[in-house]
């Protein structure tokens, strides 16, 4: 499993949300709450080790017309980067 060390992005991340340890549905619910507290165009990085979140977090973002910049599924921990 290639571990991503300090990978650089060509965008600036404004918020970071680490949801490791939270079971379903709380990663998705917390993320939706986070969007409500962000301004349009701001970017959030979300970390979750709930495998189910792959069906939730990107879908919720798309449903709200937020842009999914990155989905990374290498191991048990998933990463999502979303632009509101």
């Amino acid at each position: 499993m290639a571990e991503v060390e300090n990978k650089n992005t060509d965008y600036t991340i404004d918020y970071f949300l680490n949801l490791e340890g939270e079971p379903c549905p709380f990663p998705a619910m917390t993320t939706v709450n986070a969007y409500n507290n962000m301004k349009d165009g701001e970017i959030i990085e979300i970390i979750s080790d709930c495998p189910q979140s792959i069906n939730n977090i990107p879908e919720d973002a798309k449903n709200r017309n937020h842009e999914v910049l990155l989905i990374e599924q290498n191991g048990p921990t998933l990463r999502y980067v979303i632009r509101k």
Binding site: M1, E3, V4, E5, N6, K7, N8, T9, D10, Y11, T12, I13, D14, Y15, F16, L17, N18, L19, G21, E22, P23, C24, P25, F26, P27, A28, M29, T30, V32, A34, N36, N37, K39, I44, E45, I47, D49, P51, Q52, I54, N55, N56, E59, D60, N63, R64, Q73, N74, G75, P76, T77, R79, V81
Partner: protein
């Protein structure tokens, strides 16, 4: 290989599960179901602590005899657990995850008990009284589904209370590097466990082949069911609950599509003489469905949902499983007192008998049509509503 590691779209996986569940019925004359077997495990547990299970009529009702290895449901469920574990290993989803707070432990056990109790009161869970129950043309499955939907709505109101919310807050940052994820490299461990599972599967094939020639096939079905549930992260709870929490309907649509597909197959088998499983369309189904709905939302997963998550190493869902078995034991203990006026007096309604074979089929598909229409209306309404609310959120923030 990469495709095998990534998770699969539920919109493809659930219809395949629908087809397989119809075939399973064709081969075994049994619905794909799990909670009945978990109740029998409760029975084994009661025997183990010295309780005489022969005096409880519920165990006669669900034919409690032998060991899991001698029962179709038992063999199938063992297959499911192994299939889930194999899928989780291939997907590199196996990680020991401990509950983060006492609240979550309470939710897992309490919700699990409610779900187990409710499911058995209604004679089925998200499978036997919904996903594989409606395709059996049993009215009780429709009643169960309606009250489960209501129960999940009530459950969502409960888990939306502040005490259940995640304590984790987002942090304001300003960075151009991604967080480095500290997952250990589990490749070697996972490969060894896969080898171990292969040996176990072969071993089970031999044992089961010597019991009954059908059993190895049942094991294959179990393995496939389990593998697909984990691969697709198929969560029936999500199919209901997330409509209320986020207006998300991808899982709901997938499940509906799965039932639309499996109903035809099941119908053909029933027409060719395999008896449909019909249960009491009574108050037990109404109450059981509602309690089940509340329970699965509090727990965070229903029967099939906790199974694959437990195999991924999520301790929370192992507790849900324990709760389920405890809840089913509770139901067994009270069944003889409540069944005479909640279940035994209610009719067992077979839609294929009430409306005739093709009439019953048409009525069922009209039912699916209504479900799809309601879903479409609800989701549209939901997103219109949050658009209206959006400006208020921003002003609150400012």
């Amino acid at each position: 290989m990469n495709r095998l590691r990534k998770s699969w779209d539920p919109l493809i996986v659930v219809p395949i599960l629908g087809v397989l569940s119809a075939y399973f019925f064709g081969f075994t004359s049994k619905q794909w179901a799990v909670t009945g077997e978990f109740t029998r495990w409760g029975g084994h547990l009661m025997n183990f602590v010295g309780v005489d299970t022969s005096k409880f009529s519920y165990f006669k009702l669900i034919k409690f005899q032998g060991t899991p290895l001698d029962r179709i449901d038992g063999v199938m469920i063992i297959g499911m657990f192994i299939g889930m574990f194999v899928s989780a290993l291939i997907s590199n989803n196996v990680k020991f995850r401990m509950p983060q707070s006492k609240t979550r432990v309470f939710q897992a056990l309490g919700g699990g008990i409610l779900a187990g109790f409710g499911a058995r009161l209604a004679m089925g869970c998200n499978l036997a009284a919904f996903f594989t129950g409606i395709p059996q043309f049993s009215l009780h499955a429709w009643i169960f589904s309606i009250f489960t939907v209501l129960g999940t709505y009530a459950g969502t109101k409960i888990i939306q209370r502040p005490m259940f919310q995640s304590k984790i807050k987002m942090k304001k940052v300003h960075k151009t590097t991604l967080y480095s994820i500290h997952d250990k490299d589990h490749t070697t461990r996972n490969n060894w466990l896969l080898v171990l599972m292969a040996v176990l599967i072969l071993f089970l094939f031999v044992i089961e082949y010597n019991k009954q020639s059908l059993f190895p096939l049942v094991l294959v079905f179990g393995l496939l069911f389990g593998f697909l549930l984990e691969k697709g992260q198929v969560c029936f709870t999500s199919g209901f609950r997330d409509l209320w929490t986020a207006g998300r309907s991808n899982m709901t649509v997938a499940i509906l599509l799965g039932m639309v597909i499996s109903t035809v197959g099941t119908f053909v088998f029933i027409q060719n003489g395999i008896p449909a499983t019909i249960h009491w369309a009574g108050l037990n189904t109404v109450i059981g469905g509602f309690i089940f709905g509340v329970g699965i939302v509090i727990a965070g997963g229903c029967e099939t949902g906790w199974m694959y998550r437990a195999m991924e190493g999520q301790v929370h869902y192992m507790l849900v499983g324990v709760g389920n078995v405890l809840g089913s034991i509770l139901l067994v203990l009270v069944w003889d007192q409540i069944a005479p006026f909640l279940a035994y007096n209610a009719p067992e309604v077979n839609l294929l008998k009430v409306f005739g074979p093709y009439g019953g089929l048409i009525v069922t598909y009209i039912g699916y049509g209504i479900m799809a229409l309601l879903l479409w209306i609800y989701v549209r309404w939901y997103f219109r509503n949050i658009k209206k609310q959006a400006p208020t959120n921003i002003t609150q923030e400012a």
